[in-house]
């Protein structure tokens, strides 16, 4: 199996926040509260990656560009990786796996319950991204992956409760989610550009390593 350019570029971009965290940790610049800072960076990255993945299917249709399909897979997977890192920082570094501390917190706080449910639901999506499993699932793959609409919605609840006082920030993220979902409305189904400009065809062909632009 040949690896396409978009796979290389996409994965490198996805690793940037992790590289940033590592670099800032080693140079001691991760603020006075590194646990909080890394919790925020991983959580934010996960949400942004998930929102990006939600735009890929409509964008692929509107622009007739197949490159959005690998982008969807890569961003979806990174959304899971960073959500998992986010959880590891919470349970391992912050709460030191002390269940006497963690369990009461989860019992008390709906936003933690929501976050945990979202993470658990992301697991089957991540696992079924692997080609053999995807092929085995056949038409069910698509149904399973529609779960992401629900997961993203409950993550919006998670971040809205988690943000302190400032309402602008969660509102922007909720608006982006609504935009991604509204591009799926039946009324907008026929929204497509008439023909792709040549240069975009070349970009698409270059990134997907295909000689014939689709």
């Amino acid at each position: 199996m040949k690896i396409s350019r978009i796979q290389i570029i996409g994965n490198l971009i996805g690793l940037l926040p992790a590289v940033y965290i590592l670099y800032e940790t080693l140079t001691g610049n991760l603020s006075a509260d590194p646990i909080r800072t890394t919790t925020i960076i991983t959580g934010r990255t996960s949400i942004y990656a998930m929102l990006l993945s939600l735009f890929c299917t409509p964008l692929a249709r509107i622009f007739r560009m197949s490159v959005f399909h690998p982008i969807r897979k890569i961003s979806g997977l990174f959304a899971f990786y960073y959500a998992f890192a986010h959880f590891l920082i919470f349970s391992f570094f912050d709460y030191q796996l002390n269940l006497d501390w963690i369990i009461p917190e989860i019992k008390q706080k709906p936003f933690l319950q929501v976050g945990l449910i979202a993470l658990i639901l992301l697991i089957p999506l991540a696992v079924s991204s692997f080609k053999p499993i995807r092929q085995k699932l056949g038409k069910y793959w698509k149904k399973i992956h529609r779960l992401v609409f629900f997961i993203a919605a409950i993550i919006l609840v998670h971040i809205t409760i988690a943000s302190k006082g400032d309402i602008v920030d969660p509102i922007v993220i909720i608006a982006i989610y609504i935009l991604a979902m509204s591009l799926r409305l039946p009324q907008l189904r026929s929204l497509k550009i008439k023909s792709l400009p040549d240069w975009l065809k070349h970009v698409n062909a270059y990134l997907t390593n295909k000689n014939n632009a689709s």
Partner: protein, 315 residues
């Protein structure tokens, strides 16, 4: 990435930062070993600019033996929404904040209303050093050597009347200097309040400095309140107005989230918050968590103030 080591950097600041280095290394080695096989630790988090004044605090601890939070962390990691909701940006954004001249108006239900300027405030009482734990409602804490004087010294001068039941404090409102005050999510200016007996309590401090130096703008220069048994947001910064009133003031955080932030806001591990753990806290500069103490460890001094009150209702 290499940095010259200043001769002054070797001692004596090393005394109080050494523990932090150790902790940071511990955090680094565990976190880094998850990610890469080997790692080299550097110590560039320590600001090379040294001040002999700071070294006087090198071996000090609070009443429970907790080591002081490094000066750079106290001045570099703040909650000051008037400048930014970020913890690190106020340091930069407040750099040119003008705190001189400064006038504080003290009025309301008092016999002797007055105004004090900055110089009067900084010199009218002999300043004391008080090492207090500061517990933020967000579940993190610091140990801070304040410089200041008990609020009651001011009360003795202005003489609140018997009608005065509460003190209301207000932070300066100046959106040109404080860009965060343009954020429409909050009803500026910042307001806080205390009950009279809390205001008279000996632990309640009007602070003018930390580590023997005058307050930095991001820490609330030129004068702020410090109430160590309450969550940090009660300790209002850059005060311009102190008013004695007969009704409980509505603080900014009470107005923003009445179900989350109460008037009393006493540190209490038994009263939950929807976002942050109040049972445990992260001490800045240390790894992991510690258990939060009732009234932030000042129970012996202040519990009597709240006798007979249901603290889950009066949170």
């Amino acid at each position: 990435m290499s940095r010259k080591i200043q001769p002054s950097e070797i001692t004596p600041e090393a005394l109080y930062i050494s523990r932090r280095r150790f902790i940071k290394k511990a955090f680094l080695s565990t976190s880094a070993s998850l990610l890469i096989a080997s790692c080299s630790t550097q110590e560039s988090d320590i600001n090379p600019t040294l001040d002999p004044e700071l070294s006087a605090f090198s071996s000090q601890t609070d009443d429970q033996g907790n080591i002081l939070t490094p000066y750079n962390d106290i001045t570099g990691y703040t909650n000051y929404y008037e400048f930014s909701t970020s913890k690190t940006q106020p340091t930069e954004l407040a750099k040119n904040f003008v705190t001189d001249p400064w006038i504080i108006k003290i009025d309301g239900l008092v016999n002797n209303p007055t105004t004090l300027d900055r110089d009067q405030l900084l010199s009218m009482f002999e300043s004391e050093e008080r090492i207090y734990r500061m517990r933020c409602v967000e579940g993190w804490s610091m140990v801070i050597p304040w410089k200041g004087f008990p609020l009651k010294k001011i009360l003795d001068i202005v003489e609140p009347t018997s009608d005065a039941k509460y003190v209301r404090f207000e932070t300066v409102f100046d959106p040109e200097q404080m860009p965060g005050q343009n954020n429409p999510s909050f009803p500026w200016p910042y307001v806080e309040g205390l009950r009279m007996d809390e205001a008279y309590h000996d632990l309640t401090l009007l602070a003018t400095g930390i580590y023997g130096k005058n307050l930095t703008p991001q820490n609330g220069a030129p004068v702020r309140l410090v109430v160590p048994w309450k969550y940090g947001f009660k300790s209002i910064k850059s005060i311009v107005h102190i008013e004695f009133v007969d009704e409980m003031p509505v603080s900014l955080w009470m107005a923003v989230g009445p179900s989350e932030y109460g008037f009393y806001a006493n540190v209490n591990p038994n009263v939950d918050h929807p976002r942050w753990s109040q049972a445990t806290e992260r001490r800045i500069g240390e790894s992991g968590r510690i258990e939060t103490q009732m009234f932030n460890g000042y129970e012996d001094e202040v519990a009597a103030l709240y006798e007979g009150m249901d603290l889950t209702i009066n949170f």
